[in-house]
Every structure is written in C-alpha cells, then in structure tokens.
Symmetry: none
Subunit: 199 residues, 4 copies
DNA sequence: CATGAATGAGTGTTCATTCAT
DNA sequence: GATGAATGAACACTCATTCAT
C-alpha cells in the first residue's frame, strides 16, 4: 500500500508542474501521464477523475507548506523573529517549489468550480496552511505583542502581501534573489500587527 | 460608432458576469450571447475571439476601478485619509460590482495564457489601476509620511490585503457589510507604510 | 440596364480572381465584395447566391475563350495551321487571363456539386468552348486531313494536353514563356489526328 | 502495428469514396466515420486532421496506380504495346476504382490549398505515378521509338488524354465499356510520340 | 439600389472517461 | 494493475443569406 501512495505522489507532482504552468483546463490527462511514462488508463487507477487529482494536489501542497511553517510556531523566539522566519521560509519554499505555490495561487484560489461541492467551497483543503497562520497570530496576541484584531483582516495582511509578492515573482518583475525583500516585508507586517507601544 | 461601443460594453458586462462566476473555460460564447439576447454570430461582429473579449473585459474593469481611485489621489487630504478613502472606495466597488473584482482576481490574475503574448504578459492591461496605487505611494513618500521602501513590496502590501479580503468575501466567510473592516485595514496599512515617528 | 450588366461583370471578375486562387469554398462573399469596394448586401442585388455567381462566372469564361477560338475556325488556313493557331491562342489566353483558365480547371471541372442540377451536370456551361473544338475537328475530317475517330477521344486528346499543360503551368514547373511549347504540342496533336498518309 | 495500418486504410477508403463523390469541403468527418461505423473521435486517433487524411488518401491512390503501371514498364514488349497496356490498365483501374481516380482528378488536382505547404506544392504526393510515366517515355526515347521531346509536353499528352477521358466518363457521356476506346487512344498517343520513320 | 449588422446552422477538433484485452 | 483505442458530447468559430434602415 505504501507503493500505491508513492505512485500517487508521482502523479501529483506531474500534475502540479503542468497545472501550474499551463493551467488546469489546458492540461490534459494525457499530458500528465505522458510526462511520467504511464498510460492514461493507469492514471484512473489512482485518481477517479481529473478534478479529484486537482483536489489531492492542493492538499499535498498545503500540507507541505504547513509542515515547514509549523516548525516556526514551535520555536522559542520572539514574535517578530517568527514573522521573519515565516517570510523567509515562505520565500525559500517559493524558490524551491515554485510550481507548488503557483498551483496554490493560480489554480486553487481561482478555480472555485473545481473545489466547491454545492455550498462548501473546499476551504478545508488549505486548512493546514491557514491553521499555522492562525497559531502565529494568536500567539502574538496572547503575548501582547500583537494588537487584537479581526482574524480575517490580520490573516489577509499576511497572506495578502506574500501572495502579491508571489504573483509579481511569477511575472518576473522582482529580483531573482527574493531574500532581499525579506527584511522590509517582515518590518511592514510586524508594524501592522504589533501594539502601538511596540514602536 | 458610439452605438458599436455601447453594444461592446453590453457584451463585456455579460462576459464579466459569467466569466467571474463560472470561470473563463466554463463559460461558452453561447452563454454570453444568450444572456443578452443576441446570436452567437453577432458576438463575433464585436470581438474577434473569446480571448479578445477577455482582454477587453479586463481593460474595462481596471479603467473603471482606476477612475474611482484617481479622484482620491487628487484630493487635498492627508495620506492616512487617502488610504482610508482608498480602502473605502475599493470596498464600495466590491459590493457594487463584485463580478468586476472577481473577474480581476479569478480570471485575469490566474489565467496567464489568456493575456500573455509571447514574452509580454499583458501586465499593461491593469496599468491604470497599478498607476493609481503608485501615485498614492509616491505622494506619501514625497510628503515624508511614508517610509521610502521598495515599490513592489509596498504595492504588494496594499493590493495584497485588499485582494485577500476580496477572496475571503467571495468565500462568504466575511460579514456582509464590509465597511466594518475598513478602519482596521486602514490602520494596518498606514502603520506598515508610515515612518516610525508617525506613531 | 447596360449599367447593371457592367456591375455584374465587375463582380464576376472579382469572383474569378478569388475563386481561382483560393478555391470556391475558401472564398467568402465578403472577400469578393470587399475586393471591389461594395457591400455584401449589394452583391445579392446582382446574383441570388454564391453558387449562381459561380455559374455565371464559368459562362463568362467559356464565352470569352470561345470567341477567341471562333476566329480561327473561320479562317481560310490549313488544318495544321488551325491547330497551331488554336494552341497559340490558348496559350496567349492562359498568360493574359490565368485566373479564367484556372477557374475553368480548378473550380468548374472539379466541383460537380456546384454546377449539377439533379441529373444534368451543367455541361452546357462550357458548351461554347466545346463547340469550337468540335468544329475544328469536324472540319479537319471533312477535308480528309484528320482521320475519322470517335469524337470524345479526339476531344480528349486536344483538351487533355492543353489542360495538363495548364496544370503544370499553375504548378510553376514550366518555363515562363509558354510559347516555346507551342510547336511541339501542335506537332503532336496534328500527328495524332491526321490520316496516315500525312506523315 | 499492422492492425493500425489496416484501420487507417479502412478510413482512407471511406474518405476516398466520399471526397470523390461530394468533394472535400462537402464531406464531414462525421460522414466518413459514420460510413465505417466508428466514432468521430476515433478518426483522430489515426489522422491528426482532415487535411492530413486527404494527403494520406492521395498517396494511397497514386501508389496503388503506380504499382499497376510499374509491371508494364518491366515487361519485354514493344513501346507501342506498352502504351496499349498502359491505357488498358488505366481503364481497368478507372472501372474498378472509380473513386480513386475521381479523387485524384477532382480533389488532388483541384484543391491546391489542401496539399501545398508554403511554397512546396505537394507534387511529391503523386510522384510514384509520374515516375512510371517518365520511365515509359524515357525507355521509348532510348529505344529510338519515341521522338525526343520536352518531357512536360509528352507527359501532358499522355496524362491529359487519360484525364480528359476520365472526366468525360465521370460525366456519363461515354459508353459504359471503356475498352472500346483503348485502341484509338493508343493509336493517337503512339502517333504523337513516335519518330516519323516509324510510320 | 446600397448597406452591414444579425442570424444560426454547421464543422473541425478536443478530451475526460471507459473498458476490453 | 496496466494499457491505449474508442467514445461522443461539447465548443469556438465561420459564413451564406436576410432585411431594416
């Protein structure tokens, strides 16, 4: 059974690469299977449909990203350092797995119809990732370093700036070495979140 | 000739509504034309292709949004007030024309293949909108209210948080009345941008 | 009424040029009318349908060609000279009106469905041209210069070689100046038609 | 792999029949596939496009015809007998496979746009057939039975008369039994080609 | 007579999914 | 489990023809 999971991951990685580059609708099952040298029919032994493959792919990505972030939340460092680490880890991730982040932003966030079942809009698929951000924020508030605010607003600030930078990076307008942006971003996020006195 | 432009706008609005709701690839030309009671063939008297219609649609949206924002930049108010106005106008726009904002985020930002011509990636299509944000930032810097930072980072902070809120709004997790978020968002953006002394 | 016929001819010439170059099915009514600066709707005041325009066009061509050939049949020269003249006139015609000959061979002879009405296959459209060849042959037989043979066979020999040369000319494999082929073709046709003693 | 070629041939035969009867542009892919009981999509597993099917079809025809003619060129008989055999074999072919010959004349020779790639005009598709005629002519010249003439002219004489007879046959103006024309045609071709003394 | 926008049936092609081998 | 041929619904786009102006 371990073997089956391995093959599933191989397929997911192939799908991620193609979906993120060409988009979901411009990628065919044949493309995905040819890339890893298996037959079209075989693919269906692992995933019942193309849509399902897309769902599994997003879970794969968010879990991977969440794991990286979870280490930070468990560290015994200041909230500011956590944010800095957060940004850094995220940027390393972008550079190491651009196709995963691209997939997240370009396929998952933009193709509702693929991930929504009736009323529930597959938000749970990114839960692992969202949870880690929530922990970060709540810890900061608990330690009185962060001002208590509406969660969605704070969440949007953090994920928004990272998302926008990701997008600009995809558009090739940023410097190749993303690390040069880390300090400023950290600074902005921290200023936005922290309680007045902090300054 | 005025008449032709009017009809084009009718088609664009129909397309915007459907593209933003169902996605570009799940919307057929027949859907768009049926919605406004014209024939499929007629559509092609106004736009040479579906792709072209998508391009014209994004220009329509960004121009519309840019016009609203341009008023603010010309006002004689403090930078903080400008940001507050910016957020407010943006939220009003979301509530009034949700399909336009959705189109911007879900179709334009996520379907590169539709807007890219070879190397040039149709970034110019959103230029009007980006320009207004740039003016806001530069004015703040000139008036020593904002810290001088890398443009892309600042741009990402502002557009990122607005984009993320838009996304959450689309997911129906926010309060219906978005106005309750304005103050907090303005505060965060302002804190992130302003020079230390400001606090 | 003279004026109407003139306009009809203008349209026919436009159609001939496009049909012969691009084929009937790859030429649109819009192409034909744009080429001469009239509107699509106007075209339909002169010809009730595209098919009808094709029929009128072929009649225009065969009549034009037949007129040229008829002069030869009325001359008081030997049959051999008539054949030489025939070939010469035909080649001059090809060079002067390549689109007409092309139309004849590429559209008329090859698109039965356009010119056939139920059982009758629009053969009459080329009648003028065929008639002149028949006169040439019959005269030769009457004067005992040509052997009496089945008409269709003789007709095929003459029109066949001219047609094949036309085709090769269209394929650009022949010398630009077609006149260099006249003597040999005349010689071959004459030898094939004439009575044994002639040699 | 043998099996795939067999299926391709079945499709080609279906296409040949329909293209030759209705023309290329009046035959749909659905027509072709329905005729042999396969699905539209299946067709595309064998030929990437309708155009491509047309090209493969003409190659199929010319190869088939060339094979028949090649036997004659290898026989040890006089040139006159070869011509007679040539005409006979051709006429048998017409009667046995009228759709193939019709396809050759009505689709291949008349729809340049289908077979031309940029400058090269798919002449090679009929190469096998043309080659056999060239061999016949050159042999005759080598054996001093045929007068040395420009190749294109001689080629036009032979293929022209056969083509014209084919056309008339398609128009149903000839006797059903084409064999009655063989002798006269052979005689005419031979007289046209042979050196004067020969008579 | 002239115009050109509107029509809508028609076509080549794609592709997720199935299933016999 | 693996294969890849078969399926057929779906869709972008075309274009001859009409007709209100």
């Amino acid at each position: 059974m371990r073997k089956k999971q391995k093959k599933k991951n191989i397929i997911i990685l192939s799908a991620l690469g193609l979906f993120s580059k060409q988009g979901f609708y411009n990628t065919t099952i044949a493309d995905i299977s040819k890339k890893i040298g298996i037959s079209v029919g075989s693919m269906y032994n692992y995933f019942p449909s193309k849509k399902d493959l897309a769902k599994s792919s997003i879970q794969y990505v968010t879990k991977k990203l969440a794991v990286e972030l979870s280490y930070i939340n468990r560290k015994e460092i200041s909230e500011k350092e956590k944010i800095a680490d957060f940004v850094k880890v995220y940027f390393i991730f972008i550079q190491k797995h651009p196709e995963m982040i691209d997939y997240f932003f370009r396929v998952y966030l933009s193709n509702r119809e693929l991930f929504c079942d009736e009323e529930d809009c597959g938000f749970y698929l990114a839960k692992d990732f969202i949870d880690e951000i929530e922990i970060l924020i709540n810890n900061g508030i608990k330690h009185k370093e962060f001002k208590k605010r509406n969660f969605y607003v704070t969440f949007s600030l953090i994920s928004g700036i990272l998302g926008a930078m990701t997008f600009l990076n995809g558009e090739k307008v940023l410097e190749k070495n993303l690390n040069i942006y880390i300090e400023e971003i950290t600074d902005m996020i921290y200023k936005a979140l922290s309680v007045p006195i902090q300054n």
